[in-house]
């Protein structure tokens, strides 16, 4: 409990610096931020409105205070382009990205952990070699290129999956899954490679430990030794890594959603960038960073809970 309280205390300064950094992004805009945010027309009325709304005539720390007060109350500002609160837009788009990230994570876990186990068990054989090549492929392939190749092969040539677009699961669950398989595989590809490498190295460490040797000496079946004795302990660091990788999935979703025209969180930030909708960009980055910090905390807590030695 004291550990959790200590960790909670430690995230406060981090969140503070995140807020300063994201507020500071606005200062990077060349010239007058009100003019930059007013779009191509630069309507003087809009400029004056923005200057008043963002307190641009006030000193910087005072502006930060106003901004932070709004953020704490859940007000991330308003989209200049579509005149809607940023929080509302995030809440609307987030479920799509979470579904995509969830399926991608499931694919990555199945492929990554299985490949990691097999690679460790058959260390220095051709199976290990193939698994390592697969990991290098996953780490080196830009996911937007993989997306285009999969569209070309599975959507255009074979017609098995739609090339782009999104169907809500509440409208048609089957179509929803069909539209999500390719983007989820693309998004999960790099994560599967990371998980494979970590599972392999954790398994190799555990397989050479005394208790595994004892289990083998007792005459236990090799499958039982690997799955019941070795894997359970090898998965502890992998579990925490998985939670931390969710942040990376959100990052990857930006490109994947762009390739497959999925109207999620990633597309929201890209559209905002091109419409110079800076409040949306700030809101999305702030939300992502905060979510990452909370996930980090949960990963630490999970690590303590599943690792008895940490509790002692």
């Amino acid at each position: 409990m004291s550990f959790i309280l200590r960790r909670l205390g430690a995230i406060v300064p981090t969140l503070f610096f995140v807020s300063v950094m994201i507020f500071g992004l606005q200062q990077l805009l060349p010239g007058d931020p009100a003019i930059a945010m007013a779009g191509e027309e630069r309507d003087p009325n809009v400029v004056a409105y923005l200057r008043g709304k963002f307190h641009l005539d006030e000193p910087l720390p005072v502006r930060y205070g106003y901004w932070l007060k709004g953020v704490v109350q859940g007000d991330l500002g308003e989209s200049v382009r579509i005149q809607r609160p940023v929080t509302e837009l995030i809440v609307e788009k987030l479920p799509v990205t979470l579904e995509l990230a969830g399926i991608a994570m499931a694919i990555a876990l199945v492929i990554g952990i299985s490949a990691g186990i097999v690679s460790a068990v058959y260390k220095d054989t051709w199976i290990d070699y193939v698994a390592n090549v697969f990991a290098l492929w996953g780490l080196s392939t830009p996911n937007f290129w993989l997306g285009i190749l999969l569209i070309l092969f599975f959507a255009v040539r074979l017609g098995w999956f739609p090339a782009s677009g999104y169907v809500s699961p509440f409208e048609d669950l089957g179509e929803n899954l069909r539209s999500m398989i390719l983007p989820a595989f693309v998004l999960g590809n790099a994560l599967a490679a990371v998980l494979m490498r970590h599972t392999r190295s954790a398994m190799l460490q555990v397989l050479s430990s005394d208790y595994v040797r004892t289990a083998r000496a007792k005459g236990l079946d090799e499958r039982v030794v690997i799955l019941r004795h070795a894997l359970r302990n090898a998965l502890i660091p992998v579990v925490t890594l998985t939670a931390l990788q969710l942040g990376e999935l959100l990052s990857g979703a930006v490109l994947t959603e762009q390739v497959f025209s999925i109207p999620g969180f990633g597309k929201l930030i890209v559209d905002a960038v091109f419409n110079r909708d800076y409040s949306v960009v700030q809101g999305v980055v702030l939300f992502t960073a905060s979510a990452y910090i909370v996930l980090n905390l949960l990963a630490d807590v999970a690590y303590v809970l599943i690792n008895p030695r940490m509790r002692a």
Binding site: P13, T14, L15, F16, F17, V18, V20, M21, I22, L25, Q26, L28, L29, P30, L136, W137, L139, S140, T141, P142, F144, W145, I148, L149, I151, L152, V156, A163, G247, E248, L250, S251, G252, V254, L255, Q258, V259, I269, V270, A272, V273, F274, Y278, V281, Q282, V284, V285, T288, A289, S290, Y292, I293, N296
Partner: protein, 292 residues
């Protein structure tokens, strides 16, 4: 007599740690393949004007979206430009982005990490919290946000990637300094009256270089993907200048009838990133202090 005979035997010169690491690196086939491809891409980038068969910006309305032929090995794009020439010139943008952005990260990250680790106290606490805050933003999201506010261009993309990758170097350098500064030789350097500056630069810094080199090599791979990603989103190299990412952005609209437009720029990104990853993995194994 026996002692004289023993002294006459020419003993092999003992290799320095650097030479031993180099020998280990050369023995790693993967790292050498990676290095060969890196050299190949560097040559493409430097000699692009001699290697590219056509002007990468020259359009030809009579050769729009032509499949690969003897005249155009990689085919042509949506306005008749030669894809091979654009891929060759695109190597320049990718490598430049990789090297410059990692240069920025090194120039900021290593001194700041050195300062945090060596000075400690509130300086360390402040730097660590700022680093945590930057690491809390996923790398690409932070780079997109920075590039969006700075404005779309290759230079700004490199700055954005460089800044977004900096906290990893701060954290690594700080951790290495913390491990090195408790060593006996640092204590000895202090005991003989060296100043803090001298100890930090002459004794601590050289001992943290190896892991920083490994991280830098792997960071170049990440920076190449990041530049391609930003260009793919329209935030990096601006058309008509060739860049692998922006070529893919255009190619995705013609994937049904001109797939070659997507294959080659993507394969180039993949090969270059793979090469740096192979080289980085090899360097990590070769420079691992446990082996030296």
């Amino acid at each position: 007599m026996a002692a004289v005979a023993f002294a006459d035997v020419a003993l092999p010169r003992e290799l320095s740690p650097g030479e031993r690491a180099l020998r280990r690196l050369v023995r790693r086939r993967g790292a050498m393949v990676g290095l060969a491809f890196v050299v190949f891409f560097v040559a493409l980038a430097i000699f692009a004007s001699w290697i590219a068969p056509y002007d990468p910006l020259a359009t030809s309305w009579s050769a729009v979206r032509k499949a690969p032929t003897a005249a155009h090995w990689f085919g042509t794009d949506e306005i008749g430009r030669d894809v091979l020439s654009r891929v060759v010139w695109g190597a320049r943008a990718s490598l430049l982005a990789g090297l410059v952005s990692v240069g920025i990260s090194l120039a900021i990250g290593v001194p700041v990490g050195l300062l945090a680790g060596y000075v400690g106290g509130w300086v360390d606490m402040l730097i660590s919290r700022i680093t945590d805050a930057m690491l809390a933003c996923p790398f690409l999201v932070l780079a997109i946000a920075l590039a969006a506010f700075l404005g779309p261009s290759l230079t700004n993309a490199m700055i954005a990637i460089g800044i977004a990758a900096t906290p990893a170097f701060v954290r690594l350098s700080r951790a290495q300094v913390l491990a090195v500064k408790v060593e006996d030789y640092i204590e000895a350097a202090r005991a003989v009256g060296n100043s803090d500056w001298r100890i930090a630069l002459r004794h601590v810094f050289p001992n943290i270089v190896a892991p920083v080199i490994v991280q830098a090599t792997l960071a170049i791979a990440a920076a190449v993907i990041a530049e391609a990603s930003l260009s793919f989103l329209g935030l990096g190299q601006q058309p008509p200048a060739p860049s692998w990412g922006s070529m893919l952005n255009t190619a995705k609209n013609y994937v049904e009838n001109a797939p070659w437009m997507a294959v080659w720029p993507g394969a180039s990104i993949f090969l270059l990133v793979l090469s740096f990853n192979l080289l980085g993995d090899g360097l990590r194994d070769a420079l691992d202090p446990r082996h030296i």
